[in-house]
Amino acid sequence: MNKLRPYLKYALLLLAAAFLAVGILRQEYLAVLRKAVMICLECIGIG
């Protein structure tokens, strides 16, 4: 396991790139945008 540790960061970077690609293809950023451009009543303690 310790021998593999130096390579883990590269694997994580690849995983991040793959997740981001899938997320962008699924247009998940629009869900984030939709939530973030409206005042989140729960976040501010109203809703």
Partner: protein, 297 residues
């Protein structure tokens, strides 16, 4: 030139600049509104409420809950990808430098008081696990499983706990927006009370929220031992004088736990070390290996 560079690279200056950069829509503070442009589709690395009037990006914890609990169910690839990217590159360096709420806690702890608190080691170790429970229960499990009849869930961490949301969004929006002011109720009272309790605690106990409650810090802590950015101790130079542990805002035993899950990589230990035994950069692991190799030779 050297003096200017030295000033610009001071941690509070970087923290202040980043807090201002990610909350640069300052005009919104006066009209009780928030920024609604496309940049809000991108998460900032630190805990920064997207309902803060000045916020230019989305909060990663809010975004994660919104995706996990939204009507379009499924894994949150986009937000998880961003979190893994930030974590793999920096680990908890983000907590030390790029988190506006961390910056607020640092400023609060600078307030002079007769006595500062230090939690006994055994209790402190146990309390630090709370943030993982907060992450699991309020950020992941409840948004996934506690769903309304319309198929959507509530961002439970934001709703019940997040003091950053109350401070950055709740207070300025309620002050600046009469419609919101009219809607204030019991939940708002709870959030204000909790926020005040946490902020007061932070005056006496360094980075109390980061240590015990922050789910974002919990996520980044998983990456600390495998990120590109690392901190390393040169065992040959360390004399165990303890200077590093005394200045650590996270109260960790630096020679033992440097770069562990609780280290926010604030560099305080590195700057205070009289022997230059602590290194940090994007290749600290490699350099340390070489240094140890020479020492062994």
């Amino acid at each position: 030139m050297k003096k200017i560079w030295s000033f610009l690279t001071k941690r509070p200056v970087i923290q202040g600049f980043w807090a201002l950069f990610t909350n640069s829509r300052l005009g919104n503070f006066f009209n009780g509104a928030i920024y609604t442009g496309d940049l809000k589709a991108v998460c900032v690395p630190g805990l920064n409420c997207y309902s803060c009037p000045g916020a230019t990006g989305a909060c990663p914890i809010g975004a994660l809950q919104a995706q996990l609990g939204g009507w379009k169910r499924g894994f949150a690839f986009y937000t998880a990808g961003l979190l893994i990217l930030f974590g793999a590159l920096f680990g908890r360096l983000i907590c030390g430098f790029l988190c506006p709420f961390g910056f607020i806690q640092d400023l609060l702890y600078r307030i002079k008081t007769k006595k500062k608190l230090r939690v006994p080691n055994k209790l402190d170790t146990r309390l630090r696990y709370i943030k993982y429970a907060v992450l699991a229960v309020f950020v992941i499990i409840l948004p996934i499983f506690l769903v309304s009849e319309y198929g959507v869930s509530t961002p439970w961490f934001c709703k019940l706990i997040c003091p950053a949301g109350t401070l950055e969004g709740g207070v300025p929006l309620v002050l600046g927006n009469p419609d919101l002011r009219a809607s204030v109720g019991l939940l708002y009272a709870w959030k204000i009370t909790l926020m005040l309790a946490i902020l007061t605690l932070c005056v006496f106990l360094s980075r109390a929220f980061c240590k015990y409650l922050c789910p974002l810090g919990a996520i980044y802590s998983f990456f600390n031992r495998s990120s590109f950015y690392r901190m390393k101790l040169d065992e040959g130079r360390c004399t165990r004088c303890g200077a590093c542990s005394r200045v650590c805002p996270m109260d960790i035993d630096v020679p033992h736990d440097l770069d562990g899950p609780e280290c926010i990589r604030c560099q305080e230990c590195k700057h205070i070390c009289p022997h230059g035994a602590i290194r940090s950069d994007f290749a600290a692991g490699i350099k340390h290996k070489e240094a140890s190799g020479h020492a062994a030779d």
